[in-house]
Symmetry: C2
Subunit: 360 residues, 2 copies
């Protein structure tokens, strides 16, 4: 078992694999080491593979719909990670930095690497919670970039849980930060290189368009907040509208509209939806509004959602639903006892088998 060195301030992402290509779909479970988004066409050129197709292929090859949520709390890391926080690092920028932020960022990166190593075989993607890295400042962004790199090496897709949303020109900047690149007089700056990100649609259709444009150009995907897993979802998202339906129904229609042009050969759109696993009744209704959207399903486990109630998510196929679990996996040892890695792998395996059976 190896732990990736922490990049620290070595710049964002580094996962600029947009230009790489694969010559076929011969990926086999756990053997994928890169997240290629183009494939050679018969004419020798390359075309961008849609996120929906890429996801469907990955779900099939890994036989998993489990998304490992990474919400690292520096005060609750796996014990082994703490031991590695002050280990020598390869890259220079943070090597000599003994600030609390740099040490915590190294520990967070080590923790995420350990969790990924323990559970990668059971998962199809990781979902780093950007807030948990951002609170460590610049070193935290370095830890996020390193975590993305470790996930890639384990053949996992990366869904940045950022919940960004802003007016057009700013939305374009966020899209550059997570899915694209930023042109500068010094050359392009690669973004985080995530395969997909979560976005907040409160600012309306024109606020989503720059995300869609950037995502589609790079074969990446979006997950638009439609019906979240928390009790507060009732306050705004579930308000009834004068012309019928709730706010979340209109959000679902918006997702279906902007996703229409992005459906791949597998029938899944590149614009998915965040639909909490805590309200299975709403999930079935929202599936009718969004027949081709991939549902990202948070709220399983600690928040009370049960995999067994998520069948409607899988209506468009095995990759139609992605089951997110973070604390349920990462903190499994707190309830189950024993080694954190073993308990995490066992819980991830349990979720994988449940979801796989349900979606058959």
């Amino acid at each position: 078992m190896t732990v990736a060195p922490i990049a620290g301030a070595a710049g964002p992402g580094g996962s600029s694999e947009t230009g790489s290509s694969e010559t076929g779909s011969s990926e086999t479970r756990s053997s994928v080491t890169e997240s290629s988004v183009t494939r050679s066409s018969v004419t020798g050129g390359s075309e961008t593979v849609s996120f929906g197709d890429r996801l469907a292929e990955r779900v099939a090859s890994r036989e998993s719909q489990v998304v490992l949520g990474l919400d690292p709390d520096p005060a609750r890391l796996w014990p082994d990670a703490l031991d590695r926080a002050d280990a020598p690092v390869e890259r220079a920028p943070l090597a000599g930095d003994a600030s609390p932020a740099a040490r915590a960022a190294r520990a967070v990166a080590a923790h995420c690497a350990l969790v990924i190593e323990a559970t990668a075989e059971q998962c199809v993607a990781v979902k780093p919670q950007v807030a948990c890295f951002e609170r460590l400042g610049a070193p935290g962004w370095g830890a996020l970039a390193d975590t993305v790199a470790v996930a890639r090496r384990h053949g996992l897709l990366v869904i940045a849980d950022a919940k960004r949303g802003d007016i057009g020109v700013t939305a374009a900047s966020y899209a550059q930060a997570f899915l694209g690149e930023t042109p500068t007089p010094y050359g392009p700056v690669q973004g985080l290189g995530a395969d997909a990100m979560t976005v907040n649609p409160l600012l309306g259709r024109d606020s989503l368009e720059p995300f869609v444009t950037t995502a589609r150009a790079h074969g990446r995907g979006l997950f638009v907040l439609v019906r979240t897993s928390n009790p507060g979802a009732a306050d705004i998202q579930e308000r009834e509208l004068m012309n019928g339906g709730a706010v979340s129904d209109r959000l679902a229609d918006l997702v279906a509209e902007i996703g229409g042009a992005g459906a791949g050969a597998a029938g899944l759109s590149d614009i998915g939806a965040v639909v909490g696993a805590t309200a299975p009744g709403r999930l079935a209704a929202l599936r009718e509004h969004m027949p081709r959207a991939v549902f990202l399903l948070p709220g399983v486990g600690a928040q009370g959602g049960r995999v067994e109630e998520l069948a409607a998510a899988f209506a468009p196929g095995r990759a139609g639903g992605l089951v997110c679990a973070s604390r349920g996996i990462v903190a499994a040892y707190e309830h189950a006892g024993g080694d954190p890695a073993t308990a995490a792998a066992r819980e991830a395996s349990r979720l994988r088998e449940l979801a796989w059976r349900l979606s058959a």
Copy 2:
């Protein structure tokens, strides 16, 4: 004129002035060098000054309601900033980093410092657009931290335009990142140290509460998205609800509710609202829902909003409205010609006088 060195990956913020104190309200215009949030009480202890009071005092002493928006595009920086991108830097981490991200981040920090120096006397606060820094990765976060420090040295408040919103535990992490600090086994990690931040309320009341708690504990403020300045505001925010009013009216009620406990002596709450200057009719209606909220008013200038139409914002007093302008100030020289700094100062001055007269 001096330009601040760029911190690069030297850790977040550094503006941990929460513990400082001031012995009175003798601040005079342009002479404030720190953003103190506590003052000595007669008993020798200290009490947190509410954000509303702090803002009212600052608006009065600086005679300005102008908020300088900083949305730096590395491809459109002031020419002088480009010259400084490769100047020697004081702090070590990025000194030898010639990556495009590090060079662009140094140029962005130099640009923001130049813009602040040129216009600070006309302004009460800066509003850095986090997306524009985030797209440069870890070095970009360093540039953001440096920009906050420069603004402080010029006596300006800092409003982080982050538009974050997430479920409770994650919202708490974002609050730590921008307004508070994060406990770690290596000691607390200071956040960015902003005086206020913008937040997105789509996830409902429970998603705002951690922001409120952290902000109030530190004498900081929030600006909740209620009615944004873009055309897409019509898609969700202005949808009519079955029980009357639009979504934005309910958001306004939510702001008034959570802000009720945070009103200071000046009558202004610590929970404000983002209300676009592009819909002055809505602004007046929303003021009735939120009598004590400070309105952060984007959309003046490039987006078509006019200061003359914003009178309703100032109903609770001079500090009841904050007029945001970014491109209108920073890119003024592109229309007016001449030196960027002179054109920016002139436009900021014009906006300041307009708003000050309107709020008399």
